[in-house]
């Protein structure tokens, strides 16, 4: 695949395109260039930036050669991609992810032991998130897991024993299925019930927290066709949806429980759906299904997906088209993703490198392009905390934003710059630059050649001549790499 001849060809092609476009760009420097469809090389960069957490060394060339459509099509069927190596690694390093709710909750009474377990669970969960995002072959799945992880945010610190199980058994299981199933699975998972307080809501002691967020954040979106009356009605319908222990086949089992005693049996109207109040849990399920299929939900979810995958201000024309697909397919998420990523709006220059990487995107894309081996992710978790995006610790139920305005402030770039410097100077404990990357940048024998290789790998088709010039002027490979990783272009995806 990576024959020297191909690399050279690719390198030359990249240089050629960059130079040509630079000339064109200068000629029309003040004119508003209309958006045009992306070329095949740009498209390879684009899908790897958006539908993966950035390219691995040489991967842009590979995808450009096999054709981006083929790559995307395969990624839309993650089950068809072998990912046994990463999954084995996760099984070995993060055993708590495979545990049942009962095993997870059956923790020792001793406070010190509990604290240790809690710390271990957190490390395992964070480790698994970083490992999979950085090295899974099912990159698009990881990108969508990150989306839903934020959409259905739970804060580890409130549900320490349950967050990992939630990701493993709810988000990962349903993120290519039907939205309705995903939503119901979140509603019945102890992590969500505890995180948003529904587990303590009773007919005589109502807690509105979950009902509100279920409409505001999970389905309709804020101010989108519901009122405070609906919030209270839904909270009443969902009373009794709680967690607890009950007798099972082999002793006590922990999990979701519907408790009739706590349930409010009054009739209710939730966003236009009349409920008799006599059907117990089925009323709640009906209300949630009703919300899942609401027109407002289709609008809200699709707009959010388009923002995530296409750009911070997605064209309404695209949203409308995709809403139609979402509704026609009964909320089929795979079909919805497909409609977005094969749309002309996705593959335009307007969308190209137009999104500012979140801290998570930046860290993971850095690990991927440098082929970094992560033996311990503790330090990376700390860096993400400093950047304002600690994994599984978003206190607000909104989850983290993926919009540029949420992350671009003076000051935040310093953490990214420091991370780049630490990585190239081998000062990031537990993380080492890997040979797939070093092979590529050490192959050329001249400094000029190496600078070219650094640019081709880290900022392919970025048309960022200032950084390219500074990288080429440097006589030090580590500096070249750090400059490229900290450049404006590498902050974009």
């Amino acid at each position: 695949m990576n024959t020297p001849a191909f690399s050279t060809r690719f390198g030359l092609a990249a240089l050629g395109v960059a130079v040509t476009t630079l000339a064109i760009g200068l000629a029309f420097s003040n004119a508003q260039t209309p958006s045009r469809p992306l070329g095949p090389n740009e498209m390879a960069v684009h899908v790897l930036n958006r539908l993966a957490f950035g390219p691995r060394p040489g991967q842009v060339a590979e995808v450009a050669q096999t054709g981006w459509r083929k790559w995307v099509e395969k990624q839309l069927h993650p089950e068809s991609i072998d990912d046994s190596a990463t999954e084995q690694l996760v099984r070995d390093r993060c055993p708590s992810l495979a545990m049942s709710l009962t095993e997870l909750m059956d923790d020792p009474k001793d406070q010190q032991k509990r604290n240790k377990i809690r710390r271990d669970r957190k490390e395992e969960l964070i480790d698994s998130v970083i490992l999979r995002a950085a090295s899974s072959n099912r990159q698009f799945q990881e990108v969508m897991v990150e989306f839903w992880r934020n959409h259905f945010n739970v804060d580890f610190n409130k549900v320490p024993m349950l967050a990992g199980h939630f990701e493993e058994n709810v988000i990962r299981v349903h993120c290519f299925g039907k939205f309705e199933d995903l939503l119901l699975a979140t509603a019945k998972h102890p992590a969500m019930l505890v995180y948003l307080d529904n587990s303590v809501s009773r007919a005589r002691g109502l807690n509105e927290n979950y009902a509100r967020e279920l409409m505001e954040l999970h389905t309709l979106g804020v101010d989108n066709g519901y009122t405070q009356k609906d919030v209270v009605a839904l909270a009443r319908v969902l009373t009794g949806w709680t967690v607890g222990w009950r007798p099972g086949a082999s002793g006590r089992e922990y999990g979701f429980v519907f408790e009739q005693r706590r349930h409010d049996n009054d009739p209710a109207n939730v966003v236009g759906l009349e409920l008799s109040g006599r059907k117990g849990m089925a009323d709640g399920e009906a209300a949630i299904r009703h919300l899942a299929h609401h027109e407002g939900t289709a609008q809200f979810i699709v707009t959010k997906l388009c923002r995530y995958l296409v750009g911070d201000q997605p064209p309404q024309s695209l949203v409308d088209k995709v809403v139609a697909v979402f509704q026609k397919s009964g909320g089929d998420l795979r079909e919805t993703y497909r409609a977005i990523v094969f749309s002309p709006e996705f593959g335009e220059t307007k969308a190209y490198r137009s999104k500012f990487k979140t801290p998570f995107d930046f860290v993971i894309s850095t690990l991927r392009i440098t082929d970094a081996k992560v033996n311990a992710s503790r330090r990376l978790a700390h860096e993400l905390r400093l950047m304002g995006q600690p994994i599984y610790e978003c206190v607000e139920p909104t989850g983290y934003s993926d919009a540029q305005e949420a992350w671009l402030d003076p000051g935040v770039l310093v953490y990214r710059w420091n991370l780049a410097i630490q990585l190239v100077t081998d000062k990031l404990p537990g993380v080492k630059v890997g040979s797939a990357f070093t092979d590529k940048v050490l192959k050329p024998s001249t400094q000029t050649g190496r600078a070219r290789a650094v640019i081709d790998q880290i900022m392919p088709f970025a048309y960022d001549s200032r950084t390219e010039r500074l990288v080429s002027q440097s006589n030090d490979l580590r500096t070249m790499i750090a400059l490229a990783l900290g450049s404006p272009s590498f902050q974009q995806q």
């Binding site: 630079l22 200068l26 509100r212 402030d409 710059w417 030090d476 400059l483």
Partner: protein
Amino acid sequence: MNTSRRDFMKTVGACTLGAGVWNLTEHNPLLAAPPKAPVRDCPTVVAIYLRGGVDTLSTIVPFRDPNYKSLRPTLALSAPGAKGEDATLPLDDQFAFNNNMKELHALFGKGLCAPMICVGSPHPTRSHFDAQDFMERGAPGQRTVATGWLNRYLTETKTSRDANLRAVSLQSLLPRSLRGDYPVLAKPDQNADLALSLYSKIYPHTKSGMEGAAPAGNQHSRQAIQEFGARTVEQLAELTEVLSQPTKSKVKYPDTSFGRQLRDVAKVIAARRGLEVAALDYGGWDHHIDEGPVSGQLAKKLTDVSGTIGAFVEDLGPKQMQKVLVLVMSEFGRAVKENGNRGTDHGHGGFMLAIGGKVHGGKVYGQWTGLETDKLYERRDLPVHTDFRVAFAEVLKGVFGYDAIKAGLFPNYTSKSPPLDFVKSA
């Protein structure tokens, strides 16, 4: 380690050490010679945002209200002078501070603290995120306004001679009130010398704009990154210099991150580098379960806020505090009736606190109509009698002499709220 990795570290190692670019002073004039920062005395606003919706009724307690105790069977606090640790601290014949706000109570006694009740948004949302956005952008209900009210003030009044440290936030992520076109530094909590020396080349201070042609559509994005990077380099160099000066102050702040942040704000003010606006976030006030106003969750947080602001006022001293105004706010108050979990759900009307020599303190501001169900907003929450923009405008007018209403800083502002007049004139 495989061969190529060893080669890599060897190659890079050999040509790196001592190479110019890693030298701290060579490429960064800002670090080589500290920036020429003129001594600038100017008034300062410190905006503190308590995120999550602080419970007004457990903070500024209407102890005389006949309905208060029945609405709050487990949460109600006792009147001033009562026995027990929940006895509140009197402000006037109706209101008292939570017993954990001793320092703020003392400032109130000295006329340096002005509490305001039933302040909030004219928008009915009970969503944290909307309420915060609307408030921090000074534009309730207007989703198209994406910039913060403090940032707009900075943008509208900017000059070519603006101090690098005209506005800062001592936290790694900028509060929304400071987001916008005016580049404001969010201080990273890491040493940045090496990064500044390396990246000042890629992010030079230049008005020339972008080099190279990005494909259509994303120029704006890269341009923005470029500009924010350049500002980072400049502002951070100066802030680092100011904060690394040995401290002269003997005042002890609470050992909390809020305490440390406000201590740093005091340091920047004391250095007289032209700081006009500082803003801080303080999260975790969303107490749906076990609110704990006496010694629990809420109590601990109020203790921290009160102790830290008390230390800040002492640290700057009366002379400097004449020019400083601290404004404490939250997105909304909470439902007047406690919920089934000894906590409170999202409500509507809230409160603010203003502290400093600039305020007419010692008096509780705002209209109070009691806790009768008929007087409540939607029969469940404190009403909003004063639009928060009234308070914001009075702060900008009193501190900077800037007429925000006349300047149109709050888009589509038509509020009929009466003035509070809690700030002395500029």
